[in-house]
Symmetry: C2
Subunit: 220 residues, 2 copies
DNA sequence: TAGATTGTTAATCGATTAACAATC
DNA sequence: TAGATTGTTAATCGATTAACAATC
């Protein structure tokens, strides 16, 4: 089958959110020197149906071969490509508090070929400190930086109160993606098209608390 | 309408995952001294349909009043109760690396009335250090600690390689909930019923990268 | 009472699963 | 070729939205 144009039809977010999971499992298979896999075998490992795997992948193209299955390495490379791994995405971290610090040293970015090109904070004690060869700059200079350097994604790791004004500034100098760790709901008023991915840690924890509470009540 | 028993029917995860968002919005309304709200007004703020709000809430009981809407404070308290806020949930953090450090000082837990009762690490240089009156203990002692103290949730902030063995240990001494920041897929073999909430930061970032890449390709 | 808005049933929409012809 | 497994269409399932009677 020919590879489909990604733009042809809108891919549902449910599918998109499963892709990184395929990415991780395939990486693991490669690490274990497994060269080929059928949708059935993969479905057993991942606890989803083989049908769903085939449907998901066929949104992007026919990556498999009848009677054979999927070549692990080539499927991995297809999915990597779809997700923009090693496509030169650049990123800055805004806010070098605990979250910012936890992220700057995280292999997360490197694993996906995303380059962190700038760190910013407003605290004079923090400005000038160094993480991995990168010096923390004054957040006042952030617009100049983004104008001079192409920045795809900004990690928003600052307090809620400053989140929206910062995003507004950044999107006016061309930043398109925001990885939002603040509890603010991001709303830009200048009409620019941006992409926001919220990491609401509190929401995640509460979903777990719900389960725990149900369990406790059942125990009574 | 009478309050329904939470256990009557299985609530879908889609609904559960929206509850913390209601919780946040209601909190905000209280902060702004808004006493009552209709599903329509709330739907406009939250960018979802009024119908969905009414459906969601009615899974748990009739919290509103015809012709009036919802009392913000009482709805907030109902949702808090459903999510187990201030219900005495206890929590330990396993792994005091960057993630553990970012979490121990995070108001996240306190805001939801969850008490952090223990911190653990394996590094001799880290054991003994103090965060908010809590001293980091040797992870070797973790089972004793959980036997002596009731622990509902363990935050797994250790490397992937140790995640599953640690979870296995912890669930054998009664820990039921795992907030998993490691990239490991948690699988327990001892047949205990546990709840796992995964925070796959990498997956979240990749979903954002997908959007950015689509945008870039469209620009060409 | 009249107006407003809920709670709930019915209709619609979308996502998942099943089935199977195509084909390696 | 025979067996295996995909790609894809059709059936099912579940979640969201619409509609409206109940009722405050």
């Amino acid at each position: 089958m020919n590879k489909k144009n990604q733009m042809d039809k809108k891919i549902s977010t449910a599918v998109i959110r499963r892709l990184p999971r395929y990415f991780r499992y395939l990486r693991e298979l490669i690490r274990n020197d497994i060269m080929r896999i059928s949708s059935r075998e993969l479905s057993e490992k991942m606890n989803i149906t083989a049908s769903q795997i085939r449907q998901d992948l066929n949104n992007f193209g026919g990556f498999g071969q009848q009677g054979y299955g999927y070549n692990v390495k080539s499927l991995y490379s297809e999915i990597s490509h779809i997700l923009g791994v090693d496509s030169g995405i650049t990123c800055i971290i805004v806010g070098m508090g605990n979250i910012g610090k936890a992220l700057v040293n995280n292999p997360l970015f490197e694993k996906r070929g995303i380059k962190i090109t700038g760190l910013f904070d407003s605290d004079p004690d923090v400005i000038g400190t160094k993480y991995n060869e990168l010096v923390v700059s004054d957040v006042q200079t952030i617009e100049d930086f983004c104008t001079e350097n192409n920045v795809d994604i900004a990690v928003i790791a600052i307090p809620k109160a400053y989140a929206n004004e910062t995003v507004e500034k950044l999107c006016s100098v061309g930043v398109k993606g925001f990885w939002n760790f603040s509890n603010a709901e991001i709303n830009v008023t200048n009409g620019k098209k941006i992409f926001v991915e919220n990491v609401h840690l509190g929401d995640s924890l509460m979903a777990l608390c719900y389960d725990i509470c149900c369990e406790k009540q059942e125990a009574n």
